[in-house]
Every structure is written in structure tokens, then in C-alpha cells.
């Protein structure tokens, strides 16, 4: 297969990405298939070239792009799931169990986003072109509908680009590659946020997100160039060995890493770089907001883990970023929860809750950075972080799916829109309540298991550090390393977060709905919601959680061995 720039063995490793790449081209082409022909010059022979002309009935169906992208993501997910071989692809990509589980996270989130979009952007077949006889309002309506149909394909092209960028970035072993992939995914996600340009808030949110995001990226690139100045090589291996060699931390390298933390901190939504996130979430349509809260956050954490753990984590002793990350994590979770308390927009509440969740995961990273962790304990914490990112797709995206369902009939940016959901849609409301409990970390749901693993990891790292010969509680608390308090920060914050999660449950079951009719019959979306709710429960305890944990463990092993 000489026509490919990679050999067969390498191609097999990146089947999911190749599927997405081929799909990207296909989805650009397919809606343009028509009966166009090309007449060979000086002859009467017409060769059908298929591109252009009057489109076929099948390819002109505005729902087609949605189905195609669903197929693409499902295929990518499936092949990612069954993959067992790992190895290098070229010089800058390496497929490991670690990258694979993130590919699965990304594609799963994208599958859900695609399903949710089916009913979010209305697509109608058999549309009429406006005629001269139509009144003005009918003309605008018809044109809007036509535009909606046209935009279907745009949305899914961008969606696939997001998937491609994210999936490739999780394999990158070179900082430059990592950054390019992040930018591919980020720039696409800015467009997705602003995709509903007819609503004022959508455009504003997209613009804000774009400006803040590009500044953050610029800062990150500046940091990267400083790092290049320092080491002369941006591959992760070279950077980490150079870092090991240096006795003290070179100021340039320190500043460089600090600047890159700004860029990645923005991606995960860590305080104080989170300020654009709530606006972006509430302005974007719910499927996109869900994507930002799960896949985009996972992407940021991959980058953070690469920089903080692969590159700058010393073999023994405290990492220089330990106290910074620890403080950021506590500020992030507290800020996120406090802000969510005062919010009345469900999307904003979810946005702030995802800020808080970023704080919990950063606390895990900080615990690793304390340098007290044995390899086993470090694995525990990393498992907790990755497991949390995995299950977030299930219940955080599930919550956004419910909001998507609300959006099919209008709005979902006020708590009132959720009023009395239990009376109209008991099953959906029940699922939403499960998602909320899972976000808060109530057993036996999967959110509890991930939070449990996180606290467990931190306790595991720190509880052994207290003095063993003291007999009073106070003496022990003084003697224990401060990392121990991170566990308390998480626990107190989850208690705090209970208020707003329960409030969402409360308005669904308590308040009177404005209208009592059942909602639109968005069948696939309903199936997806119920499936997410089911997964939220069965990943919490039992054999499935065990096998998932096993997968995450493998991923962590492959991450550490690098």
C-alpha cells in the first residue's frame, strides 16, 4: 500500500482516526452527489461525474449528514473498543491504551452530541423554495428552513474535525503536534458555540469564547517557544529527560510551563481562567455545551497530564507546581460551587458544576505533585481522574441531553423551563435526577465511584504521612502533610454542591409546569437519555464498573511507563 504515507501496521493502529478522516471527506462530498455529467470535448459522450447538478433524492435529504456522522463516530468508537495492538505511528504519534481510552471518551461524547443534534437543528425534507406570491413572513420562514437544511452538513463537518483533533492529540508525543491538534479541536469548537448565529446570545458567547480562548492559546504558544529555547526539542521524551538532568529549575523552563498551564487551565476550566466557560455553555446549544463539558475538558486534562506528569514530575520529591495546582484546585472547586449556587440558568449551573469537577480532578493532580505518592498511589489517583473523565460523558452529557430535549420545544436557559418535568415526562425527569445525584456523588451511582476513587487516592497518599506515635487528634492533624486537607476540600465541596443539584431535582418534582403536554417525540434522544441513566447506575457498582476500571488501569499503566 505504497500510496499511503504509512504502512499497513501503522494504519491499523489508527483505524478510528482514519475512519474519521475518510468520513470528513465523505461528508463533504456526499451531500453534493448529483446527476452532473461531463461531456468529453469534441464528442457526444457524457460521463457522469456525480458531483454537482441536480442532487439525488437520497443525497438531498437534509437528515443524511447527521446519519453519516453518527455512523462515522459509531464505527470509530467500535474500532477503538476492539483495538488491542499498540505502537508508534510516525515520529509524533503513539497509540497506547491511554490514548485509546481517550479516543473512546471523545467519540462517545460525539455520538451523544450527534444524536442530540438530530432534534436540535430542525431538518425538514420536502421544502419549497419561496415564490413571488408568498407573503414576507412566509418567505422568511421558508428561507430560514432552507438555511437550516444547508447548515446540517456544516455542523457535522465541524463536529468530525473536533473528533479528529481531539483523538489525535491524545496520541501526540510531541508538544508541537499536541498543540496543533488542540487548536484544530478548539477552533472548531468556537464555531460550534457560535453556530446558532440567529440568537444574539450564541454569537456573543462564541465571540467571547473565541477571544479568550485564542489569547490563552497564544500565551501557551509563547510558553512553548520558551520551552523550545530552553531544550531545543519539543518531543515529550526529550523534554522529560532534559528536565531530569537539570539540577535546579531553569527560570525559562519554569516560566514556560507556567504559561502553558494558562492555556491548558483554560481548556479544563480552572479558576481563574474559567470565566468565559459559563457564558460559552449557556450561549451554545446543549449538545455543544455537553461536548465542551466532557470531551473538551478531557482534552485539557490530557495536555495537563502530559506537561505536569510526563515532563515535569521529578522522580522523587515535590514538583515545583505542587502548591500552585493545589491552591488552584481548591479555589476552582469552591468558586465553581459557590457560583453555581447563585445561578438560575440550568446550563450555567452545569457549567459551574463542571468547573467544580475540574477542581476535584486538579486536586488529584496536586496530590501526585506532592511527591509523597508511591507508584501505586499515583496510579490510584490517575485512575480516579481518567475514570472520572469517562463517567462524566455518561452523566454530565446525559444532563445536557435532557436540556437538549427541552430545547426542541423552545428554551432551556431558565430554571422555570424545568418546572414540573416530572409530571410531563416522568422517565426523563427521573433520569435527570439520577444525573444530578451522580454529579453530586451519591452512591451507588458512577459519580460516587469516581469521587470515591479520588478521595481514596488522596487519603492513600497522605494518611500515611502523619506521625505514628502521637496520641491526640490535634497532634496528628498537625503532623500530617497538607495534601490530606485536599480530601476534606473535596468532601466539603460536594456537600456544598448538593444544594444546587437538589434544587434542579426539586423544581422538576415540586413546581407546577407551565403546560402539561408531553414533549416532542424525539425518539433517539429519549433512548440516549435512558441509556445514559442506565449506564450511570450500572457503572456505579458491579461487573461493568470492574471491567471499565480495568481498562482505565491499563491506560494508566501505559501512561506511567512512558
Amino acid at each position: 500500500m505504497s500510496y499511503l504515507p504509512l504502512d499497513t501496521a501503522e494504519a491499523e493502529l489508527i483505524i478510528p482516526e482514519l475512519i474519521m478522516l475518510v468520513g470528513l471527506i465523505a461528508i463533504i462530498l456526499i451531500p453534493n452527489f448529483g446527476d452532473a455529467t461531463f461531456r468529453i470535448p469534441l464528442s457526444r459522450i457524457k460521463v457522469p461525474i456525480l458531483i454537482g447538478g441536480n442532487r439525488f433524492k437520497l443525497t438531498s435529504n437534509p437528515k443524511l449528514p447527521n446519519q453519516v456522522s453518527l455512523l462515522i463516530f459509531s464505527a470509530a468508537f467500535f474500532f477503538g473498543l476492539i483495538q488491542t495492538s499498540y505502537g508508534n505511528v510516525g515520529d509524533t504519534l503513539e497509540v497506547t491504551a491511554f490514548s485509546r481510552i481517550f479516543t473512546l471518551i471523545f467519540t462517545a461524547a460525539l455520538i451523544l452530541a450527534t444524536i442530540a443534534t438530530t432534534h436540535r437543528i430542525p431538518a425538514r425534507t420536502n421544502l419549497k423554495v419561496p415564490t413571488d406570491n408568498d407573503s414576507e413572513t412566509i418567505t422568511t420562514k421558508k428561507i430560514d428552513a432552507l438555511i437550516d437544511n444547508r447548515r446540517q452538513v456544516d455542523f457535522h463537518i465541524i463536529l468530525i474535525m473536533v473528533g479528529l483533533g481531539m483523538s489525535l492529540m491524545s496520541m501526540a508525543t510531541h508538544l508541537f503536534m499536541l498543540f496543533v491538534c488542540i487548536e484544530l479541536a478548539s477552533l472548531s469548537s468556537y464555531i460550534l458555540v457560535a453556530f446558532h448565529k440567529e440568537t444574539k446570545v450564541g454569537g456573543e458567547a462564541g465571540m467571547k469564547y473565541f477571544i479568550v480562548g485564542s489569547v490563552a492559546s497564544a500565551v501557551g504558544i509563547y510558553g512553548m517557544s520558551l520551552l523550545y529555547l530552553w531544550s531545543g526539542d519539543l518531543s515529550l521524551d526529550a523534554l522529560s529527560s532534559k528536565w531530569m538532568e537539570s539540577e535546579t529549575i531553569d527560570p525559562i523552563a519554569g516560566i514556560a510551563v507556567g504559561l502553558m498551564l494558562v492555556a491548558f487551565g483554560f481548556k479544563v476550566g480552572a479558576a481563574p481562567f474559567h470565566l468565559a466557560a459559563p457564558d460559552a455553555y449557556s450561549g451554545a446549544s446543549s449538545p455543544v455545551a455537553g461536548l465542551l463539558a466532557t470531551a473538551s475538558k478531557a482534552m485539557g486534562f490530557v495536555a495537563l497530564m502530559r506537561i505536569l506528569i510526563t515532563v515535569t514530575m521529578p522522580d522523587s520529591g515535590e514538583a515545583f507546581w505542587f502548591s500552585t495546582i493545589a491552591i488552584i484546585s481548591i479555589v476552582t472547586m469552591t468558586w465553581g460551587n459557590l457560583a453555581a449556587l447563585t445561578s438560575t440558568n440550568p446550563k450555567r449551573i452545569l457549567a459551574y458544576s463542571s468547573v467544580a469537577h475540574a477542581g476535584y480532578m486538579l486536586a488529584g493532580l496536586a496530590a501526585i505533585g506532592s511527591g509523597l505518592a508511591s507508584e501505586e498511589a499515583m496510579k490510584l489517583v490517575l485512575t480516579a481522574i481518567i475514570f472520572h473523565l469517562v463517567v462524566l460523558v455518561v452523566f454530565k452529557f446525559g444532563a445536557f441531553l435532557v436540556l437538549s430535549l427541552l430545547e426542541t420545544e423552545g428554551r432551556s436557559h431558565q430554571l422555570e423551563d424545568l418546572h414540573g418535568l416530572a409530571r410531563r415526562e416522568p422517565l426523563i425527569a427521573g433520569s435527570m435526577f439520577l444525573f444530578m445525584l451522580s454529579l453530586a456523588g451519591v452512591p451507588p451511582l458512577s459519580g460516587f465511584l469516581s469521587k470515591f476513587l479520588m478521595i481514596n487516592g488522596i487519603v492513600n497518599i497522605s494518611a500515611g504521612t502523619g506521625a505514628s506515635d502521637v496520641s491526640s487528634v490535634m497532634d496528628w492533624l498537625i503532623s500530617v502533610e497538607p495534601v490530606f486537607w485536599l480530601a476534606f476540600a473535596i468532601v466539603l465541596n460536594s456537600a456544598l454542591s448538593m444544594f444546587y443539584y437538589l434544587r434542579i431535582g426539586l423544581v422538576m418534582f415540586f413546581e407546577e409546569p407551565e403546560n402539561t403536554k408531553p414533549m416532542k417525540d424525539a425518539f433517539s434522544l429519549r433512548i440516549a437519555i435512558v441509556l445514559c441513566a442506565l449506564l450511570t447506575v450500572i457503572i456505579g457498582i458491579g461487573p461493568l464498573s470492574d471491567s471499565l476500571l480495568q481498562m482505565v488501569n491499563d491506560a494508566v499503566d501505559s501512561f506511567i511507563s512512558n
Binding site: 445525584l437 452512591p443 478521595i455 494518611a463 502523619g466 496528628w476 480530601a487 457498582i541 458491579g542 461487573p543
Partner: protein, 532 residues
């Protein structure tokens, strides 16, 4: 039948959840049929479980000699621990001993009774299955011997109770349900840190209950030696105490209870007071005291202060209450204080008294709440003094009220008396004349109970008519319905039965406490230099 406790726990959970979810998925006409019979199914299942639990509980039927179980051994355990999450060492181990068996039986008893009291609840097709789910979670707490599973069930009880209060509660139910959930959830996550510190200190095991490498949650294999640092042991003990004392509840973390009780529907109150409060005391004995006896001995003064302040403060506040249900709720706080005092005595008799208090209060307080609920139901008010002489109008209700009130204030020959006397005697043996304080508090108890009873049942100054509350708008009240009457009647009979024959459960409790002292606490008591 090889694994009765698993059946006992998972059947109500499964049936309850199915009854909740199925009507959503089935076609309309099937769903309607199912909705109509779902309360009957729930009641049938819970009755079946009660019969099953009774069969297990009595030696004559089940063939287990509950009086002679060695400390640390459990009966009815599942043959093989089923691994639930192997990578963190969670497995399904269930078993009961004399500490948990009465609680299991009590739960199985109270569930059908509370269903019966609210047989005509609105939205019964959700109400009764929810109670069934509640039963599964409660039983799970009492039988689980794996701390992870224990914690899962512990928190799971919150969800059905949250809905019971939120959907079927009184006017202020929104506030009460939120407060209830957040309060107890917060305390439980603090407790979770304690559990995790214990988990971190466990090691490989290979014993009767299977072999696990790495850390585990197996309660049977844990002991106090696993944590080296004494300071850390005390810390874990305190973290656990925060979780358990909030559930019990003890002053100063009791404030969720009156709100939750006043707003909860009758069945919810009955379960809340009857079983959920006991979860705190049970967990405290099972985890904190069993695993950290030395810390318990060190913190005896703290226990005495907590118990005494709950007892005195609860009783004192009761005297000022004008709401019947609120008064009963505070009296629960007061009685729970006695449990801490009983444990603090470090006497076999005291601990047995505390155990019997858990059981007796588990029968009496549901009776009290059923009575209070009936007032709310038939007189639409709970104000003491707004209705007088109701014995004229509702003779059955008045009779049940009288029996319940008398039992709760500790009348001899009724169940509560046995527990109180046992605790007070043990208290006298350990703390001497300090016993006067709890003993005199019982006088306050008598004052508020007699006062509220007299003003409600009697004192109409009319030979034939009582004074009816304004909330009835001049209508004639009905006496209680047959299902309320049945339920209260059964509870009343049991109150008398266990007052006259306490040994039905008291023997196994006192046997358990004697062994508990000998095997676990004695060494700690000697080491810490406390007079046994």
C-alpha cells in the same frame, strides 16, 4: 434458600424499582392495570418478607441459636463473597448477629405497617413501591458486612425518603426535604473519609471469607491494630461519630430531624423514627465502637456529654412545643441520647439496654407518629390545645394515643421501661449519683407527655362533646380508618408484648453485650485505666 439475607435485601429493591419504572415503559392499558395493583403487590411482597424475617429470627422456626453466637461471627452469611469491584476490593458479604437481627426484624415489621397506615395515599402506585425500595436500602444497611456496600446502602436510604418528604409532605416540604438530604449527606461524606482511612490501612487477607489481595472493605477482617498511630485512630473515630451522630441524631446536629418529621408523611415519619435513626446507633456500635474500642473508652466523657445534652435538651424543648409531631420528634432526640449514655456506661447491662432502647423505640415511636399522622389526617391540625376531648369523637385514636404516650414516657410493663431501667441501673453502677440527672429528666418527659395527652384527649368540660379545632370547619370528624387502626393495634400489642416478655430479644442482646465487653472493650478499658 441458601442465601436468605441477599434475598431479603434485593427482593424489595428489585420489585420496588420495577414497579416504579415498568409503568413508564409498558403500553398504556397494561400500565394502568399495573398502577392499580402496585400497592397490593408492594404490600404482599413486604408481608412475605416479614414472614421470612420472622422465620429466620426465631430459633424454633429457623433453627439458629441466636443466644450463642461468638463475637465476630455472623449467621446466615452468603457462602461465597461475590466480588463486586475487584480492583478496589469490594465484595458482597452479608450476615447478621444479635446486634443486627432485631433491627432486620424490626425493619421487616415496620414496612408493611407503614404501608397500611397510608394505604390510601395519593399516587399510591409510586408511594408504596418507594417504601419497598426504602425497605431494601434499610435492610442492606443492617446486613452488609462490607463497608463500601454498607456506605452505599446508607446513602441510598436518603433517596426514597427525600421523595417521600418532597412529594407527600406538608406545606413546608421543600425546605424540609432539602435540609434533610443535605444535612445527612454532608455528615456521611465526612464519615466516608474515615472509612477510607481505615480502608487504606487494611492489608491482604486470606481467611474464612475468601482471600483478597490489596486493600479491602471487609468489616470482619478489620481490627483496631491496623492503624498504628493513636492520634489517627481517634481522628477516624471522630469522623465516624460525625456521620453516625448526625443520623441518630444527637445534639448539636439534630436540627434536621424536627423539620423532616413534621413535614414527612406519616409512613415516612414512622420509618424515619423507627428505623433510620437506629441506623446511626447501629453503625456506631458496629463500626466505631467495635473497631476502635480504645478511642471509645478515651472519649467516654464526650459520649456522656452528647448523650446527656440530647436527653436533657430534647426533653426540655418538648415542653415548649405546641405541635404534636414536633414534640414527638424532639422526644426521639431525647430517647436517642439514652443510647449514647447506655454505651458510655461500658457495662453489659448498659449496652444491652441501649440495644433494647433501639428496638423498643423502634416500635413505640412509629406508634406515636401513626397517632400524630392520624390527627393530621382526620382533624387537619397538629396544634396541642386546639382540639380537646377528642376521646368523645375518636375513641380508638384516643386509646392508641394513650398507650403510645404511656409507653414512651416509660410506664412499667411496656417496652420502653425495660430499656430505660437497664440503662439507668448501668449508669448508676458506672457513674454513681450522676444517675440523678437522666432519672430526673424522665420526670420532664412525663410532664410533656401527660400534658399534651390530657389537653388533647380530655379536658373538654362537656360530658358528650369535645372541642373541635377550627381546621375542621364545623364538620364532625371520623374515627380512624380500619387500616390505621390495624396498624396501630399491632404496634400497641407489640409494645405490651415486649414490655412483659422482653427476653424475646433482650436475652440475645444481653448475651451480645456481655461478649462485646469481654472480647473487645475489656482490654481497652483496662489499658485506659477506666474502672470497669
Amino acid at each position: 434458600m441458601s442465601d436468605p439475607l441477599t434475598i431479603l435485601t434485593l427482593t424489595p429493591l428489585g420489585v420496588g424499582l420495577l414497579l416504579l419504572v415498568l409503568p413508564q415503559l409498558l403500553p398504556q392499558n397494561f400500565a394502568e392495570t399495573l398502577r392499580k395493583v402496585s400497592r397490593n403487590i408492594s404490600f404482599g411482597v413486604s408481608m412475605g418478607l416479614f414472614v421470612f424475617a420472622t422465620y429466620l429470627a426465631f430459633e424454633n422456626f429457623g433453627g439458629i441459636d441466636w443466644l450463642n453466637i461468638n463475637m465476630g461471627e455472623y449467621q446466615l452469611m452468603n457462602d461465597e463473597p461475590v466480588t463486586l469491584i475487584s480492583s478496589i476490593g469490594v465484595s458482597w458479604i452479608v450476615g447478621v448477629d444479635a446486634l443486627s437481627l432485631p433491627m432486620v426484624w424490626l425493619t421487616a415489621l415496620l414496612i408493611p405497617l407503614s404501608m397500611l397506615v397510608e394505604w390510601d395515599a395519593k399516587k399510591g402506585h409510586i408511594f408504596h413501591p418507594l417504601i419497598l425500595v426504602m425497605e431494601g436500602a434499610l435492610l442492606g444497611v443492617f446486613v452488609a458486612l462490607d463497608l463500601f456496600v454498607f456506605y452505599v446502602f446508607w446513602e441510598m436510604t436518603l433517596i426514597p425518603m427525600f421523595f417521600l418528604i418532597l412529594v407527600w409532605g406538608g406545606d413546608d416540604r421543600k425546605y424540609a426535604s432539602m435540609k434533610f438530604f443535605i444535612y445527612t449527606f454532608t455528615a456521611s461524606v465526612v464519615m466516608l473519609i474515615g472509612i477510607l482511612i481505615m480502608y487504606f490501612h487494611t492489608g491482604d487477607i486470606s481467611g474464612v471469607s475468601g482471600s483478597i489481595t490489596g486493600h479491602h472493605f471487609n468489616l470482619i477482617e478489620m481490627n483496631s491494630d491496623m492503624i498504628q498511630s493513636e492520634g489517627l485512630r481517634h481522628l477516624v473515630w471522630i469522623l465516624l461519630l460525625i456521620g453516625f451522630a448526625t443520623k441518630m441524631p444527637s445534639v448539636p446536629v439534630h436540627t434536621w430531624l424536627p423539620d423532616a418529621h413534621v413535614q414527612a408523611p406519616t409512613a415516612g415519619s414512622m420509618l424515619l423514627a423507627g428505623v433510620m435513626l437506629k441506623m446511626g446507633a447501629y453503625g456506631f456500635l458496629r463500626v466505631a465502637v467495635s473497631l476502635f474500642p480504645e478511642s471509645t473508652v478515651v472519649f467516654i466523657p464526650l459520649l456522656v456529654i452528647l448523650g446527656m445534652s440530647s436527653l436533657v435538651y430534647g426533653a426540655w424543648v418538648c415542653m415548649g412545643q405546641t405541635n404534636l409531631k414536633r414534640m414527638v420528634a424532639y422526644s426521639s432526640v431525647s430517647h436517642m441520647g439514652l443510647i449514647f449514655l447506655g454505651i458510655a456506661t461500658m457495662q453489659p447491662l448498659g449496652i444491652a439496654g441501649a440495644l433494647f432502647m433501639m428496638f423498643a423505640h423502634g416500635i413505640i415511636s412509629p406508634l406515636l407518629f401513626a397517632v400524630a399522622g392520624a390527627f393530621k389526617h382526620h382533624y387537619h391540625t397538629l396544634e396541642i390545645g386546639s382540639m380537646r376531648g377528642i376521646a368523645h369523637h375518636s375513641p380508638y385514636l384516643a386509646a392508641h394515643m394513650m398507650l403510645g404516650w404511656m409507653a414512651s414516657l416509660g410506664l412499667p410493663l411496656l417496652a420502653g421501661f425495660v430499656a430505660e431501667v437497664a440503662i439507668l441501673i448501668a449508669f448508676w453502677m458506672s457513674f454513681g449519683w450522676w444517675v440523678l440527672l437522666p432519672a430526673l429528666t424522665l420526670i420532664i418527659t412525663a410532664v410533656y407527655y401527660l400534658n399534651s395527652m390530657q389537653r388533647t384527649i380530655f379536658e373538654s368540660n362537656d360530658r358528650h362533646h369535645g372541642i373541635l379545632p377550627e381546621s375542621l370547619h364545623g364538620e364532625e370528624p371520623r374515627d380512624i380508618t380500619w387500616h390505621e387502626n390495624t396498624s396501630m393495634f399491632i404496634l400497641g400489642i407489640l409494645t405490651v408484648l415486649f414490655g412483659i416478655f422482653p427476653f424475646l430479644f433482650f436475652d440475645m442482646m444481653s448475651d451480645w453485650s456481655t461478649e462485646f465487653i469481654q472480647e473487645i472493650l475489656l482490654e481497652a478499658i483496662i489499658n485506659q485505666g477506666v474502672k470497669p
